[in-house]
Amino acid sequence: MTVTCPKCGRSNTDEAYICQFCDAPLVTYIPPEIPKEEEQAESEQQSDEWLENLRKKKEEDAKVLGEDFFNRFGQPVEEYEPDNTARDPDQWLSMLNAEGTPPPQDPLQREGDAPTPEWLEMIRARINSESGGLQSDSPEEGEDWLNKLRKQTEELKPPPEGLPGWAKTEAPLSDIIEEVTQSEEPVSPLEEAPEEPQPLLIEAEIPAPAIEPPQQVSPPPFFESEAELAAFQPLDPSLPEGVDFTPPPPVEPEHPIPEALRNSIPVIDASQFSEEFLPPEEELLQRQDEPRDKIPSREIPNWLSNILGENEAEATSMSAVDANQKDLPVDGMVQPGAIPGWVQAMRPTEIIAPQKSGGVDTDRHIEEDGPLAGIQGTLAGESTIPVYSRVKDYHVGLDVKKKREENISLFKEVVSSEQKESKVPGFRRARAAGTVRWVLAALMSLILIFAVLRGLKPENLPGSMPKETIQLFQAIGSLQPGDKVLIAVDYEPAYAGEIESAVNPVLNHLMVRQADLYIISTTPAGSSLAMKMLAGMSRFPQPAHAPYQSGESFHILGYLPGGQAGIQLLNQGPVKAIPVTPDLIKTSEFPALTEYTSLADFKALLVLSDQPDTIRSWLEQMQTTNGQPALWAVVSAQAVPMLRPYVRSGQLQGLAAGEYGGALYERIFQQPGVAWGQWNVYHTGLLTAILLVLLGGALNYTGQWILQSRRKKSA
């Protein structure tokens, strides 16, 4: 029979796997059915017995074969030790594939022996000449010595695992092969299992040597004569127990294919695919991880591809035996189970549409293990596992390190420069500078002494009177005897001299008006200052008021804590704000003071302070009811500019400031006091200082001008 190539349409032998003319694949692969493990174990046991018997017989026949071989080729056989190449004819056949390598030698020839025999050279010449004539001339040519050797080698091999029971007998394989050849038609590789040996094909393809063309079928070499051959009883149905020569029933696979699934398996027709959709055969072999020699390569000559195709069955069967031996459990270890046949049948391993050249590489993944082994385009398990890698750190903030270092260095430079003494623009100190100082000091002292000795009458007072001072005088003048006036002493002892000279005429006026004075203080030293101030009233040169006694006409309530909060608390009443005096006397025991006494019960509040902020706190925190209490102030001269706005706005009803204000108040009241006595000296000293400053500056600039003019002249 011939097989028509679906591509080129030419006929090929039915044994060919690929087209001899265009190398197009002619077959599809159907995986073999794997027998059950029980049957395999049973067949193995039978094969062991069969193999022992066969080995014994082989040892006896080897001697005969060696003598026959020696007689033919003159080579000793006693020293022959079959190597791996001789055992596996497929290996030395595959060596023919290598370019430039000489044709394989006789497997029985050792190294260092004679060169290639003549008969082999003839074979090579015939192969080269007959490119397509691989068909055997006659089946009788297979009965040459090589075929016999092959048959003997096959006998040495253990029966493959997948062989049926009838193939595991002790009968010579040649006989069995003959029966099979006569009974069966040439089996297409599409239909037969790869494990089944095909010795018949080997006989038909290997050319016969030209040395001694056999005229008739010779008996096997291990038979001495035709008589022995006839006497030999190869088939004894009674001897091998358990050996059944009847064709075994179809082996049911371990995992039978369901009927519905069996029908659903598509039948692949290779003729439907053109060559461009069929991948190269080597690529298919690599993908399928199958024995390499199922489909001959393009590089193998056509004649060899046929041979290789025939030997493929043998190699496959041997590999199957090896695979089954490997699958045996070792020491009870669990071994991977066999893949069901119907699963393997579903594997589309035969025809896979090739990927285009521009295809994505990710689709070329081929599964290597498991039921999907050989399938292309599957998703790799490891590829679906997300791989986490450390995220690269990106600095998104501002890089202020450099700027910060610059600022730090600049700050350090500024601080260090502050600690260094900078040079003042130099000037040439006059030699008489020390003398001038002493002269100035003496001059100032003489002037002040003259002012003190000159008398107490104030002189050079301004003719105009400040409005705020006049308002204060008028307000105090409107008081009735017994009116309560609250006095807040909020100045520091350092300003006591100035404040006392300014407040003395005011207190004198209040005493004249017989007002009840209640003294509080927001500073701890206020009580002592108040005591000193009232004590100084006795030094008044011409007191116009009756003497004031503590506890009768004036009362020192003491310290008012809390600052502004204390001032606000004072709005609830002096008793609530200051329950106890510094002498630990309850303020509620003072006359005209009860718990219900409020600030509105006081006619006025006179604040004595050296700071404008203190006056502002009183102005802001104190609550007035119907204009009571009126707020008056006697302050230091330095606070006047800041308090003038309050006077203009009417929040401050009276103001006397400094030595100047006290002197004016005494002048208005016509009661000379401390301010009166100090004013002349104070006024004279200020004028002297102003004149000396101006005179000294004028002299300095005059001297510098004279020096510069002299330098210009000299230059």
Partner: protein, 204 residues
């Protein structure tokens, strides 16, 4: 919590005190009085702690005989004597008053006099060569105010002089009011920032 608690106390106290300015409710007045008493007590405790710290430092200085340790001895003796005298004779005693007046007042007055002399000497040095426009302006202002303080202003009753004096006084009042407004707005802003938690006083 360590920072939130003082912040909450400050805010609640400030809101309570501030509400007392606008709402004359007796309850708010009482709460404000209580808060003030607490503040006074805390201030007294702080004063006592400060005094103890002062005595501890100077006692250690005397014990270790560090430089000027005798001054520390004087401070400790004066503090102990004044405290005992005040506790025994009370602050209103004439001797105690004279003691304070004889020591504290002259000392502080002397310090202020030194400040005045220092300022006068600085002003005289400013007249030296190297004087710039700013120093010239400063010296002129000082001399004018000194002259005004003396009260020696000739022709005070003339209309021209009064107009000039009124103009100068207006400038002074305008500048002073601007400063007062700035102080008031600054205080208001600072208080509101504390009340809304924008500024957290940490005491550092």
């Amino acid at each position: 919590m360590k920072r939130i608690l003082p912040w909450l106390i400050v805010i609640l106290t400030g809101i309570t005190i501030l509400s007392g300015y606008f709402v004359a409710h007796p309850l708010l007045q009482q709460i404000r009085a209580i808060i003030l008493d607490i503040a006074i007590t805390l201030a007294v405790i702080a004063t006592i702690v400060g005094v103890i710290n002062l005595l501890t430092i100077h006692s250690r200085k005397v014990r270790d005989e560090k430089p000027d340790w005798f001054n520390s001895v004087v401070l400790i003796v004066a503090f102990a004597g004044t405290t005992l005298f005040g506790l025994i004779f009370k602050p209103s005693h004439p001797v105690f008053t004279q003691l304070v007046a004889s020591i504290q007042f002259p000392v502080e007055a002397s310090l202020l006099a030194l400040l005045s002399i220092t300022l006068a000497a600085a002003m005289v040095r400013a007249i030296r060569p190297g004087m710039n426009r700013a120093s010239l302006l400063f010296i002129s202002a000082v001399l004018v105010f000194m002259w005004a303080a003396t009260g020696f202003i000739p022709f005070q009753n003339s209309n021209g002089i009064q107009s000039v004096a009124s103009f100068l006084n207006t400038l002074q009042i305008g500048g002073a009011r601007g400063m007062l407004l700035g102080i008031g707005l600054g205080a208001l802003t600072a208080g509101l920032r504390v009340l809304i938690g924008k500024d957290i006083p940490t005491g550092k």
